[in-house]
């Protein structure tokens, strides 16, 4: 008898926990992408653990890489000096170019603002269930990060935007390949405007809402952000058109290969200020 009661109690606990999780799932429907306090709480507790594990293995890995780096340090130094020289020349040319439009003080202010508008962060983790959805970075609200800040990679290509949950020292970045992502973009050559949405399965994106009658867009054309969504600043490289299919529907089916390379995504820059407001 007591064994039956014990079995019943276990089944009741299971049913209770399943019901609790069904409630958690259903609570999200009215909230949309806003995460619950429960979800934020778990992220808040475990993201520092992930940060610690990341830091530990970075340190362990650096013992070997330091040795390897030492062997090629002279060549690296020479390459970096060349790079620095080239960038300085480029900087002078750009400053001279800017002086045609505005005075020196304004340029100094713009450049100072520009330096403060980037926040560099290391990628410490990837999405636990779908690689193309999100990554975790090691900067959070303590560093001035909030929801919906644009994130770019080391080459200046768009990665995505910060999204909840954002904890004190860590934040989640929704990748542009996520199927719930939507970015206002246009084609660089023919100025065809549309929305870039992620696929969520294969890492490709879709350039949506381009009318079937449009004949301007070509394969290989580059897409850049338009800033119409008021989240991403204008002019950031997003990807390239790889195929265009026209069927019986109103809009073309346009596949885009994002510039973002997930295998090379170790560091990112968060744009804490809209760059297009600086100029």
């Amino acid at each position: 008898m007591s064994q039956i009661q014990s079995e019943r109690r276990k089944q009741l606990v299971l049913a209770g926990l399943l019901f609790f999780q069904l409630v958690l799932i259903s609570l999200q429907v009215p909230r949309g992408e806003e995460s619950s306090y429960f979800e934020k709480g778990i992220f808040f507790i475990f993201s520092p653990v992930q940060r610690g594990i990341h830091a530990l293995f970075e340190k362990m890995g650096s013992v070997w890489t330091r040795y390897v780096d030492l062997r090629s340090v002279e060549k690296q130094n020479r390459d970096m000096k060349d790079e620095l020289f080239r960038l300085r020349q480029e900087n002078i040319q750009l400053r001279n170019g800017l002086e045609k439009f505005t005075d020196k003080q304004a340029i100094a202010r713009i450049l100072s603002d520009l330096r403060q508008s980037y926040l560099f962060a290391a990628v410490i983790g990837a999405d636990a269930s779908n690689l193309y959805k999100s990554v975790i970075i090691d900067k959070g609200s303590r560093d001035g990060l909030t929801n919906s800040m644009a994130v770019v990679d080391k080459y200046g290509n768009l990665v995505g935007r910060t999204i909840n949950p954002v904890s004190l020292g860590e934040a989640t970045v929704q990748l542009l390949t996520d199927d719930n992502s939507g970015i206002s973009v246009y084609s660089k050559d023919h100025r065809v405007v549309g929305v870039l949405a992620g696929d969520g399965k294969s890492g490709t994106c879709w350039f949506k809402y381009v009318q079937a009658t449009n004949t301007d867009l070509a394969v290989g054309e580059e897409l850049i952000t338009s800033a119409f969504d008021r989240i991403f600043p204008a002019g950031i490289k997003v990807g390239r058109v790889v195929s265009i299919v026209t069927d019986n529907s109103l809009f073309k089916k346009i596949a885009v290969r994002p510039e973002l390379d997930l295998a090379d995504l170790n560091f990112v820059a968060v744009l804490t200020q809209r760059l297009d407001t600086l100029f």
């Binding site: 999780q21 979800e39 959805k133 999100s134 719930n180 294969s202």
Partner: protein, 160 residues
């Protein structure tokens, strides 16, 4: 208290391996689910109640580190943890080969529930990782049964 500590250690180890494998190789991390492995092993060793709570904890951690629907992995893992404990009490799954098959079935069940709920009910896009995701139950079974064998041998030696 000791059981809680063991479960907490299990969660931390699973979290450590999940973070580490994501850093080393994406393909590796896609073909082995450490959280499901921890849930099944705890269910096997500690019974259905421990498996249920472990499943909920691990599943909700997976959910909070993913942009998918919060609660789906929790639900799938809770069910898996309970069934792992319940079935292992009814059927002898201690021998290595049986254990391998059992863990494989449990991991397949977790994957099927998660995929079914994500894709069919919520219409979420599932990243199959060029089919690697379907190897998850196989690798989870191999690693899980070897671990279970190792733990049993260690315990037997320790008790002597």
């Amino acid at each position: 208290m000791r059981d809680v500590m063991e479960a907490a250690a299990g969660i931390l180890i699973a979290f450590l391996f999940y973070t580490l494998f994501r850093k080393i190789s994406v393909s590796l991390s896609e073909s082995l689910n450490f959280f499901t492995l921890a849930v099944i092993l705890i269910g096997l060793m500690k019974g259905e109640m421990a498996g249920t709570f472990m499943g909920m904890a691990c599943g909700l951690i997976v959910d909070s580190f993913s942009l998918g629907i919060f609660g789906i992995a929790g639900l799938a893992n809770t069910l898996t943890g309970y069934l792992a404990g319940y079935i292992s009490r009814k059927v002898n799954v201690i021998p290595f080969l049986r254990n391998l098959v059992f863990i494989g079935i449990m991991a397949s069940l977790e994957l099927a529930v998660w995929m079914g709920m994500s894709a069919l009910i919520f219409g979420e896009g599932i990243h199959f990782g060029k089919g690697l995701i379907f190897l998850q139950p196989v690798f989870t079974a191999i690693v899980g049964s070897l671990l279970f064998l190792g733990i049993r041998k260690f315990k037997a030696k320790h008790e002597k």
